[in-house]
């Protein structure tokens, strides 16, 4: 009973100090929200249309409108069919056409405008099309750009359409697209759990490395050892504090993600283990770093060495699937990886069996680190 009373007294004191320190508050709550707002805003634009430059050098024959093949071709590229209706009203057409003056040097023009995608329609386009004479159109693109893949896909489709039309054929095979989930996973859906993992890591870790080494230096622990406060009560109050902070941060991130950027996610009780184990793990790890190092400076260096790779390579900002194989392997030794993966499994994919494995791994790591920290950490000197 009195142990709980002391833990709560220490929790109140620590929480009050935290609220009075703008730096802690910034990194704990405001910083993750700023990141989600920034990244959310940046990647919200990724569904926008790709601009494609088109130079039309077609010389006709233009005596009849029906013999101008280049104009409907360009309209089709722009998402409008021959009759002026949209080709597919349900989806946003992925490209917009920007016409380029035929008298200009096209490749020079593209280079000057830092444009990666362009199509040049040759001068005998309509003539050869009507005559049924095979010919080429030149597509400029940059294989490194994802926009080029979109552009070449659209051009292939339009060219196929015109080829079929020329021979009066019909589409036999049609493709209906479907995604793995009921909803398509967008970057923001992935970013929310990633940033929850980020704030679960950063706040307790940095703070505990700092206060443990600092309190040791100014002999505050020694002073606390002169009171009935037990070191485990002190540690417990920190863990509880960071669990509360993580939950607050979690709520902020979910609200901003869902209402600000239309993120889709499932909120289930399966999230609770991560919100408890995570802060417990990183509070203990931070305390361990602060305890085993001799000075505040070395503690901070060691803390950064551990925190930074974890911060970026655990799938917080980008999926680890986009990383080279050796980094993916490396990610599997980072404790945060299992938390972020687990949060994704629960919130985004609804894959609870996979999340259970993440919970198991996280629990094991947490127990090891917590026990080590509690054992090595000493109030008094010998």
């Amino acid at each position: 009973m009195s142990s709980a009373r002391r833990t709560i007294a220490d929790l109140r004191l620590f929480g009050r100090g935290y609220l009075r320190n703008i730096v802690g508050l910034f990194f704990g709550i405001i910083f993750p929200v700023i990141i989600i707002s920034l990244f959310g805003a940046i990647f919200a634009g990724s569904g926008g249309a790709v601009t494609i430059y088109v130079q039309n050098q077609d010389r006709g024959p233009f005596n009849l409108p029906i013999t101008d093949i280049a104009t409907p071709f360009i309209n089709a590229l722009n998402g409008t069919n021959v009759n002026g209706t949209l080709l597919n009203a349900n989806t946003t057409w992925p490209i917009t056409v920007q016409l380029v003056d035929p008298s200009l040097n096209f490749s020079r023009y593209l280079a000057d405008h830092s444009a990666s995608d362009g199509v040049m329609i040759p001068e005998n386009f309509s003539l050869n099309y009507i005559a049924g004479q095979p010919f080429n159109i030149t597509v400029y693109g940059n294989p490194a750009q994802s926009s080029s893949a979109i552009v070449s896909g659209v051009i292939d489709a339009v060219v196929n359409g015109f080829n079929l039309q020329r021979v009066h054929g019909t589409n036999i095979i049609q493709v209906t697209s479907a995604t793995v989930n009921t909803e398509q996973t967008k970057y923001i859906d992935f970013l929310v759990p990633g940033l929850i993992g980020f704030s679960i890591l950063v706040s307790p870790m940095f703070s505990m490395v700092n206060i443990t080494s600092e309190y040791k230096k100014v002999k505050l622990f020694k002073q606390l050892s002169l009171t009935p406060l037990h070191k485990m009560e002190w540690l417990a109050s920190k863990v509880i504090f960071y669990i509360i902070l993580s939950v607050i941060s979690f709520l902020f991130l979910v609200v901003v993600g869902v209402y600000g950027f239309g993120a889709h996610m499932t909120l289930t009780p399966w999230l609770i283990p991560f919100l408890i184990l995570g802060p417990m793990l990183f509070s203990s790890l931070g305390m361990l770093v602060g305890t085993v190092t001799k000075s505040v400076e070395t503690a901070s260096v060691l803390g950064n060495i551990i925190t930074f790779p974890m911060m970026f390579l655990s799938g917080t900002f980008f999926p680890i699937a986009t990383m080279p194989a050796y980094l993916q392997n490396f990610a599997h030794v980072l404790p945060l990886f299992y938390i972020v993966e687990g949060l994704n499994n629960v919130m985004v994919y609804g894959n609870i069996p996979a999340a259970l494995l993440d919970i198991a791994v996280t629990t094991a790591i947490t127990v090891i680190v917590f026990v080590a920290a509690a054992k090595i950490f000493k109030w008094r000197e010998d």
Binding site: R16, K222, T227, P228, R380, E381
Partner: protein
């Protein structure tokens, strides 16, 4: 009943014998001063008594308890200000007292404690904004939360200006008047003399003298001495022409001669007169605790309490640098 009993206490760090076999006893209601230069072993000794450090050898009983093995119980009964007391920056003295009260499971009136340590005006100022003296007072306030019968104050006034130091003294005197047993370490002689009933002088891990100031002076002092205001040359002249021990304080330009017999004073004055050199005020006085302290620690002690052994100036030539 003795509050503190220490016998043959030893503690070493690597090759340094920080405390090398000290024994002492502090009685209930007594203010006991542990005096010594930096590195004498005062803090190690007091921290062992507080239960903050483990001893290598010897027996220590604090209020009947072994401070290392029964530290947890002991800490409920004692009050401590560690050297360079510090606290969580964003908390005020009032909040700190409330925090300690909850930890100790006691009910206290923060304002009453703050009044006792003369810190009521700063009850709600955050620790980071307190002055050095106010911080020490807050330390004192926290050490009083559990109404301890025994207080350990480790250099409570180090680094404070004279006014702040006197304010702390006033607080300590108040505690003494309430019958608290107090162990105080300091490297300020004046402080030890002003506050303590008994003093132990520590040097290099040993207690070199112990007792009331008078007892120490009688035991280790040379009795009376003659002080003459004059130059180094005059001091040298007297030293060369008499068989007296001549000490010279170049800062105060003071020649100081311990007198074995009263007649020695006449010999010294005769030599001074004979030298034809200028000399000013003369007086005879008894050795002070300071004189004894300097002789016992055999070196000069600066403001921060460090010993700097100076080249010998004659048999007991000592330079004592004043603040």
């Amino acid at each position: 009943m003795a509050s503190i009993e220490v016998s043959d206490l030893k503690k070493h760090y690597d090759n340094i014998k920080a405390v090398d076999g000290i024994s002492l006893k502090v009685n209930e209601g007594e203010v006991f001063g542990l005096l010594g230069p930096n590195g004498a072993g005062k803090t190690t000794a007091i921290e062992i008594m507080e239960g903050l450090r483990e001893r290598d050898a010897g027996d220590v009983r604090i209020l009947g308890l072994d401070p290392w093995k029964n530290g947890y119980e002991l800490h409920k009964k004692i009050g401590v200000i560690p050297q360079q007391f510090t606290f969580f920056e964003k908390q005020s003295p009032k909040e700190a007292i409330e925090y300690y009260a909850t930890l100790f499971g006691v009910k206290v009136d923060p304002h009453e404690i703050l009044r006792e340590v003369l810190l009521e005006d700063s009850a709600n100022n955050r620790f980071e904004n307190l002055s050095g003296g106010q911080k020490q007072k807050m330390g004192l306030a926290l050490s009083l939360v559990n109404s301890p019968e025994l207080l350990f104050l480790d250099e409570p006034t180090t680094g404070l200006d004279p006014n702040a130091r006197r304010a702390i003294w006033e607080v300590i005197r108040g505690l003494k008047a309430k019958g608290k047993t107090i162990v105080l370490t300091t490297h300020y002689l004046e402080e030890a003399q002003q506050l303590s009933d008994r003093v132990a002088i520590m040097n290099l891990g040993h207690i070199v003298a112990m007792g009331t100031a008078d007892e120490i002076i009688t035991q280790h002092g040379s009795g009376e001495r003659l002080d003459i205001c004059g130059s180094q040359q005059l001091a040298d002249y007297i030293r060369a022409n008499t068989d007296l021990t001549v000490e010279y304080d170049s800062v105060r330009e003071l020649i100081s001669i311990p007198l074995k017999e009263r007649i020695d004073a006449l010999a010294a004055l005769a030599a001074a007169e004979q030298s034809k050199m200028d000399w000013g005020e003369i007086q005879t006085r008894r050795d002070s605790l300071e004189d004894v302290f300097i002789r016992l620690v055999a070196g000069s002690v600066d403001e921060s309490g460090n010993i700097a052994t100076s080249p010998s100036q004659g048999k007991a030539g000592i330079r004592w640098r004043r603040k």
